[in-house]
Amino acid sequence: MSILDKLKAIGLHIPKLKSLVSIKFEKLIHIDRSIRIEGSSISIDPSSLNGKQKRALKRLIREDLLSDAGAIIEEKSEPRVREVLKTLPSKEEISKKLIPIIPSADIPLLYACLFLRRRAQLQEPVEELKSQIVRVYGQRGGNFANLCSEGYLESWFWPLYEELLSAYPDQPAAARAQFQIHYNRIVSDLPWTEFVAARADADAVTTHIIEKMQRNISNGIRYFNVHGLGIRNVKKIEKLIPEIQKKTGALAILTEKTETRIFIRLEIHQKSLV
């Protein structure tokens, strides 16, 4: 029985409607009926229903609507949910690859960050959404969002897993376990990457990067990627790089720069830091 048939069974008959896209529950002012129809959507005024109808409607919401629709969304959040629905993050190629191998608690984080990346690519504001991710997942969430927006899911995480699969050809569980060790460390600490925050003090950033590079060199990692967004940030990073090079002996082997975005890859070719 369809939702429309179930509504009819509790006395909410809408013969003009052939299909139903959404139902709103609201006070209908100056309308002497309990239902208003707008296209394929209806508004129901629960206060105009009798006790029996109200109970039946509650049951219908709880048992049928939620199961059929997948979710019942509060009106103010509906535009955002509709925006996400246009291109679901789970349909992206990288989602299909990473979902089986990342910790399950991070799957919503992956989805949210892919949505954020898509908005950023469309030049739409993302700062508030990124703050929301950080509120839910802490700094780890911010790190993941930065890694995602700079393409590391595709360029680093997936190739790492493929490499581990080659190393453990008959043990996918072992490859996955090893992957998660690296994954958790990278997402938590960003050992070989710095996403320079716009508000960060240049001296503090310089010291932080040098410390990370010193730790890395003892682990045999001789490269470091520096990312920054925003005009002032680009200028700040350009100014601090020579100091880092002087202190570490690193060479800037790749620089990608626009007015509002910078990426510099540093590599150390000598055996130890200066």
Binding site: S67, S77, V81
Partner: protein, 63 residues
Amino acid sequence: LDAFGKTIENGFIVEKTKIGQKVLTPRGEEIKVTEFAGVRKGSAIFLKSDIVSLVEAAESIGS
């Protein structure tokens, strides 16, 4: 909220039959009524209006 046996107390969503017991998201967060964004299926999971929860809701609708 009423349909799911919840109500509002001191600005938070709470259980109707266990007064004072706050409803939590799957991540264990309390839900202020101003942050309430809806319910998704799976034992009626209550949602906050942050982007992580809304993307999960969209995935639940789209799946």
